[in-house]
Structure formats: C-alpha cells, structure tokens
C-alpha cells in the first residue's frame, strides 16, 4: 500500500472542509472494510485519506411515524442488524445485515461506506431502494437529497462529488399492507450473493390486489437493477404462483448479469427467476400479515 497523508476530523464540517480542499486527491475512509482491500491491491492510491470513522455524530438511528427512519452514514452494519428499533420497524434491514459478510466486518464497516463503495453485488442498496430510501449528501456549500435508486452510476461508481459526503440515509415510514423481503443466493453463509433480490409488495386493502411492487436485483447488472418490467407484471394484479413465475422470467430478461468464477451469466439468469419468485412470495406473505 502506498503512503498517504492522513487526517481524522471529528466533526462533519471539518471533513467537508478537507474534501473541499483536496477534492480528487482525497478519499474518505469509514470502516475501510471495502476500501483497505482495494488499497492493498494497489487499485486505489489516494494522496490524502480523510478518516471519518471518528465522527460519532453520524452514528445514529432514529425513527418516528411521520418522518420515518433516519440512519447516520457511519452507523455500523452490526448496529443496524441488532437494533431493536430496526427489528421492529424494518425487519428486512436487520435480516439483510445478518447475511452480510462476517460479524467482524459488520462490527466496523458502516452503511455509508458500503453504499458509497457502489458494489452492484452489495446487499444494502437493493433493500434501501425497495424501501424508497433517500440519501442526504452534503458538501460545504450545501446539501442535496438523492434517491437511493439513482445513486449508483456504474460498477463502483456512485453519484458523489469529490467534495461531498454521505451524511444520512432516510427511509420513509413503512406503508400499510406492505411486505418487504430480501434474499440472496449464497453457497456459504456470508457470501456475496451470486444473485440477490429485494422485493416490496403493497396490497390494496380488502381485495388483495397488488397495488405496488418493487423488485431490485443485486449482481444482475453493473448497478443494483430495478426490474421495472417485472414490477409491471405484478402491479394491479392478483398475485399467484404463476404470476410470480412470469415476473421472474421477465426480470431475468431485463438483467445483464456478469459471468465470473462463481457463476455463469446463464445460471445467474436462471437464479434471478428463482429468487424473484421466492422473495416476492415472502414479501407477499408479509404484506398479508402486515409484518413490518
């Protein structure tokens, strides 16, 4: 790993000031669970590393019924996984975190670091997208809100300017008659999913028709893929097994999954079919039971 200048601000403003000063020369490190490996491999060699892990003010989780959930960017995966609040209001987030890498990684790695890393195989992004999450980005001169769905640009590339920092993840309160689920295809517990699916189903009260469906896939394209065609299959329909199968097949066609040492493109397409169906079914069951 190459040497670098190192600064450890304790306040967000300080960090932003440094980013504004160094711009492209600087990179933020939070937990470093993704970044250090890349730096050791020589794929990333910033001149300045701005260590934000000590900005404790960005480590929080709050919830109210009106504003919804607000997670500070430096909240660790493990904190989200084990939070009684999360388990109560957004169980899917806790479930997703439980399958993410290993406990050691989750103890130090942060949700913000994960999202800004922009790995299309990552788990948090698809779940946050189906939950309708928004991201608060800040730089010295101001703030902007970006939809989670719009954050990813390409593999390992997100909509974050060099002088910007992710401050907060905002998740709207859970909608009624909505169920959300996430699963990924693992060979071993903690694997990056060969493919993964996050699904949210909202039902019309009374007749059980699907009012809204959101399906987002991981490791199915160069960014977390919102399978809009597949969603259209389900919206406005009564969902049964055959419809879910159809949705899976449509999603599979929308995707452009990679081929790598773990799986071929063809197999990933087949698994998209399976996981869209499985996870949508789970989300449907939860919607029926009003499980948060």
């Amino acid at each position: 790993m190459k040497d670098f200048e190192y600064v450890a601000p304790v306040m967000a403003e300080e960090a932003l000031s440094l980013l504004s000063q160094y711009k492209e020369e600087a990179k933020i490190i939070a937990g470093g669970q993704s970044m250090l490996v890349v730096m050791r491999q020589g794929l990333l060699a910033p001149e300045v590393v701005v260590d934000v892990k000590g900005i404790t003010a960005l480590d929080y989780m709050t919830y109210d019924e009106r504003e919804g959930l607000k997670i500070g960017a430096l909240t660790t995966h493990r904190a989200i996984e084990t939070s009684p609040l999360i388990q109560k209001q957004f169980r899917v987030l806790s479930e997703m975190e439980r399958n993410l890498a290993t406990i050691q990684t989750r103890n130090w790695g942060t949700i913000g670091g994960n999202l800004c890393h922009g790995d299309p195989a990552g788990d948090p992004a698809p779940v946050l997208i189906v939950l309708g999450a928004m991201l608060k980005l800040r730089k010295l001169t101001g703030e902007r809100i970006v939809a989670m769905e719009d954050f990813s640009r390409d593999i390992l590339e997100v909509d974050l300017e060099p002088s910007e920092m992710l401050i907060e993840i905002q998740v709207p309160p859970p909608r009624p008659h909505t169920g959300t689920a996430h699963e990924k295809l693992m060979v071993m517990q903690g694997d990056a999913g060969i493919v993964g699916a996050a699904v949210s189903i909202t039902l019309k009260p009374g007749n059980g028709i699907c009012e809204d469906a959101r399906i987002v896939l991981s490791n199915a394209a160069s960014i977390p893929l919102r399978a809009k065609e597949a969603e259209r299959c389900l919206a406005g329909r009564a969902i049964d097994g055959d419809l879910l199968t159809e949705a899976g097949e449509v999603a599979s066609k929308e995707a452009s999954p990679p081929s790598d040492v773990h799986a071929s493109e063809e197999y990933r397409r087949e698994m998209i079919k399976v996981f869209v169906k499985r996870v949508a079914n789970k989300a449907l069951e939860r919607a029926k039971l009003e499980v948060r």
Binding site: G32, Q33, I103, Q104, T105, Q189
Partner: protein, 161 residues
C-alpha cells in the same frame, strides 16, 4: 506529510501505549511488530481468514482490516490479554479440555471471536455460535469441537458445570 509517522495512543490488554506509526500501518502490524503481540496472527491481510481477530471496544474486528490510527484512543484486547496470570479464561480452558486445538494457528482469533460473542450474548444458540465462528477460517479441525467448546465455555460462564 505522506509517510511521516503519526501519534497513536492505544490501550492494549489494559496497558496504554504511545506510539508513532505510519498512516498506512494496519492495526495487526502495530500489534505484532511494535507491541510484539505475535498471538495476533497474520493470515491473509485482506479480510478473508479472520485469524487476526481482536476485540476493539468490546467488538470483534479483523485487525488486518483497520488502520492502526483508527484505533487511536480506543481499547484493544488480544489473546495475550485474556488469561489472568496463570488462570486461563474459561473459553481457553474449554478449548484445551475439549480437544479443540490442532495446529493452533486460528485459535487466538477464534477464541477472541468467541469471547466477543459470549460477552455480548451469554446464551447463544448453536446457530449463533456457528455465525460467530464463520468469520475465522480453520484448515484442519472440522469446526465441530470448536463449536462445542464455545458452548461448553458459555455454560461454564453462566454458572453451569
């Protein structure tokens, strides 16, 4: 200045040290080389094997995946800090008594992982023990005795026999 050593104040196994380290130094490097705590093993340096696991502020972390400077002002416990003089920690004793140690290379990291688990959750299910052990690779023992040793230690620590 790039490469210029920076001050690091860190409490390790109850003792506070003031060191000068390069910014890029990993926590595992500082523990092993500067503090001679070679119980912290060096396996992969790329967060895949977990034998470098230590406890940082009560949480198990892979010390190869943390910049040493990130531990500035924090508390670290390594395997060397577990026993009280001659008296082994119940987890250590359980690993010995249950025959859960083979080549021993993964044991320091594994025992620290187990300690972090039991400190947080004194009555883990087998599933939870497996999840904790998932983060530390072994090459030889098949994990069975190790999982059982953690359960035995947990029971001992809860007051059972």
């Amino acid at each position: 200045m790039k490469g210029e050593p920076k001050e690091l104040k860190i409490t390790v196994n109850g003792k506070t040290y003031e060191l000068k380290v390069k910014a890029k130094a990993l926590l595992s490097d500082v523990l092993r080389k500067d503090l001679k705590l070679t119980g912290v093993k060096r396996g992969c340096l790329e967060s895949t094997c977990g034998v470098c696991t230590v406890i940082l502020d009560g949480k198990a972390v892979r010390s190869c995946s943390i910049l040493a400077l990130q531990a500035n002002g924090h508390e670290v416990t390594t395997i060397e800090g577990l026993a009280q003089g001659d008296k082994l920690h119940p987890i250590q004793q359980a690993f010995i008594d249950h025959g859960a140690i083979e080549c021993g290379f993964c044991i320091p990291g594994r025992v620290m992982m187990a300690k972090a688990l039991l400190d947080e959750n004194p009555n883990p299910t087998r599933e939870e023990v497996r999840l904790a052990m998932q983060g530390v690779l072994c090459a030889d023992a098949g994990y069975v005795k190790q999982i059982e040793a953690v359960e035995i230690a947990a029971e001992k620590m809860r007051g059972g026999e």
